[in-house]
Symmetry: C2
Subunit: 216 residues, 2 copies
């Protein structure tokens, strides 16, 4: 795949990635709701999922305004993102909330950094579709409850979180290799410092793990 | 189960039914999105699903305001509604949209009729959580496309729709038998005419089937 590296293409590439990420996160979280231990938690996860679809709509509308059909902008990411979710299917509620907590936060940190490489109004749009922090707090509280109930759960969830990050990085590498325009946007001049970006993402991830009693 | 037949209980019973119906419709439609033939249809179904969860939130808030924990009001319906969905798992996109078209419309007709037995503000709330008609139009258009592409599809979907209605009625009977307060509300004096109700629901269903080229 070697589309011309025009700014417009790079922006559509990024918005397409974020849009499909939202669409798939919606589907997976909605599906994971069946693992909730009671009806109020089940509803809470469904409401978290529904927030993603509202964000999807905003991104799809922006792509349409840029003259790019959303499905075209999303298509290149179907394989890698689907592979990520297929390889990280949660088996119980503790894994569901850990996936939401770890995965959403890393994605949000990444988007926040990359947004700096965008011009307005896309910069603002990407910043606005970041997850509401009350969802992270809900997931963090659920992890703490699971860890408090059984000390061995901390080890199991720590391993699970490492697997989530490993799978995410592996698919991110696949996207980076295939989507030159996107990589060019991220590495654009001095606007995003790539080694620094990975250092910051890792540091924030480590701090978040510690905050819920998991080890990195 | 024989809770006292106070008006408050009956209203909570009905709101609990509608709330859990929304929650489960959300989960099932979100899960069915994976059967969509392309990304725009997949997103369209996810957006239809997300509308249900917004309605769920309104009903849950009203139950809380009435002093009834939403999970308590929903609990009696978990078995029957889950059984309905488990026994009507769509196998392809045409079955997904037929289920949305047939199931949502009958449920909406039923709620519209029953709302008449409620006092304000619950009457208005139930009327407001009825499905947006553009979703019915989307589903109807998809059925017409499927039927036009292959004449045998009409027979298969007609049979599928009959099964949906059969399973729905069987679970509705189970709910009616178990929830005396709810049945009392529906049959309350001359406010809802039960035989007339079923006649009207059936007539509307038959008309809808004909509108998309299916037979009853």
């Amino acid at each position: 795949m070697s589309a011309p590296t025009t700014p417009g293409t790079a922006v559509a590439d990024l918005l397409g990635l974020v849009a499909f990420g939202e669409l798939l996160a919606f589907e997976r979280m909605a599906g994971d709701a069946r693992l909730a231990p009671d009806l109020s938690r089940r509803a809470a996860l469904s409401e978290m999922a529904a927030a993603e679809i509202a964000n999807y709509r905003r991104l799809a509308d922006r792509l349409t305004a840029l003259g790019v059909p959303p499905e075209e902008a999303m298509e290149p990411y179907v394989g890698p993102l689907q592979a990520y979710h297929d390889s990280t299917e949660p088996r119980d509620w503790a894994e569901v909330v850990t996936k939401a907590y770890v995965g959403d936060a890393i994605t949000d940190d990444f988007m926040r950094e990359v947004a700096d490489a965008l011009d307005e109004p896309d910069r603002q749009l990407v910043l606005e579709v970041l997850h509401d922090s009350r969802y992270a707090e809900f997931a963090a509280a659920e992890i703490r409850v699971a860890v408090a109930a059984d000390a061995r759960v901390a080890d199991r969830l720590s391993m699970w979180a490492r697997r989530l990050v490993g799978e995410a990085l592996s698919q991110a590498g696949r996207v980076a290799a295939e989507r030159a325009t996107l990589t060019a946007l991220i590495a654009q001049g001095d606007r995003v410092d790539v080694p620094g970006l990975f250092r910051r993402l890792t540091a924030a991830h480590t701090a978040r793990m510690a905050a819920v009693g998991l080890n990195n």
